[in-house]
Point group: C2
Chain length 163, copies 2
Amino acid sequence: MNKPCAQHAHPHRLVQQSLTELTDKLRARDRKITAPRQAVLDVLRRHAHPLTNREIHAALGKADCDLATIYRNMHTLESMGLVKRYDFGDGTARFELVQGEGDPHHHHLVCRHCHTIIEVEDCFPTELEQRLAARHGFTEVSHQLEFFGVCPRCRRDGAASVP
Amino acid sequence: MNKPCAQHAHPHRLVQQSLTELTDKLRARDRKITAPRQAVLDVLRRHAHPLTNREIHAALGKADCDLATIYRNMHTLESMGLVKRYDFGDGTARFELVQGEGDPHHHHLVCRHCHTIIEVEDCFPTELEQRLAARHGFTEVSHQLEFFGVCPRCRRDGAASVP
DNA sequence: CTATTTGCAAACGATTTGCAAAACA
DNA sequence: TGTTTTGCAAATCGTTTGCAAATAG
């Protein structure tokens, strides 16, 4: 895989939560407001696309902390519902801030070459999901859907085709 | 995660390719018909659900070969279109035999606890896929969709809830 | 003051790779 | 025989974990 074409493409959803709102959620659940946590949340806040732990770590800059701390915090934040984990099939987890309560989950269109990410609003499968659950007696059903392809820039740059 | 409830649930698609048909495909592309390859294909042939490299390895029995050889062969078979790789989000790739040319891709409903897998025939997103590709100028678009939940057995066995 | 959280280093599990020997065509 | 493939061991990479020191509330 190559380097990202662009750090982030057009954000379809605006970042509206303030750092204070986010830390308040921590406080509400009796989690401590530490420097690393604030830094991580702040990084996520200003990025409209899913970031890997390593990318978050790199974006910390001055507020640097151990990579392990980020891993631990992403678990914490995920279990609190503050962030959502995405899997783009390259063996590296990515995280995005959840925009408040009713934030409808969404999907992504990812370039197989440069990993440029485009947010996809549409989502069919929820309906299918219900039918499936009923049919097979499954509970707590969810789904994960991501689209992959080659972005215009990579096509022009003549990157080799990847299955 | 726990152990599999059942090694394989109801196969919705029948295994119809013979080992000979499969090796013929290798021959057609000038790939050598080695013992490990035949063994791997034979294991896949008799399993109706995606298997991990480790599971394939374990199923080899007498025809045992190095795990690295399996990894290498899965890449080969994948690039030849003989198998399809699936990602159930647990950091381990799984492979399934592709049933001939027009084998419509399908999806899975996976138990978050025991990893029991149910094949899902329905597939919405292909249509969406086209629209997305057009809208963003992407080519070679594909998608990956998997459903997750808790199967009836695990629910009764009172396994703890996993996010 | 006391439970949580962090840093550091070591452990892990899946996957990949270098290289010489073994096996197909 | 010439090329592909295998076995073995070591290397990588993302992620997790043990433990003592640092810190929030």
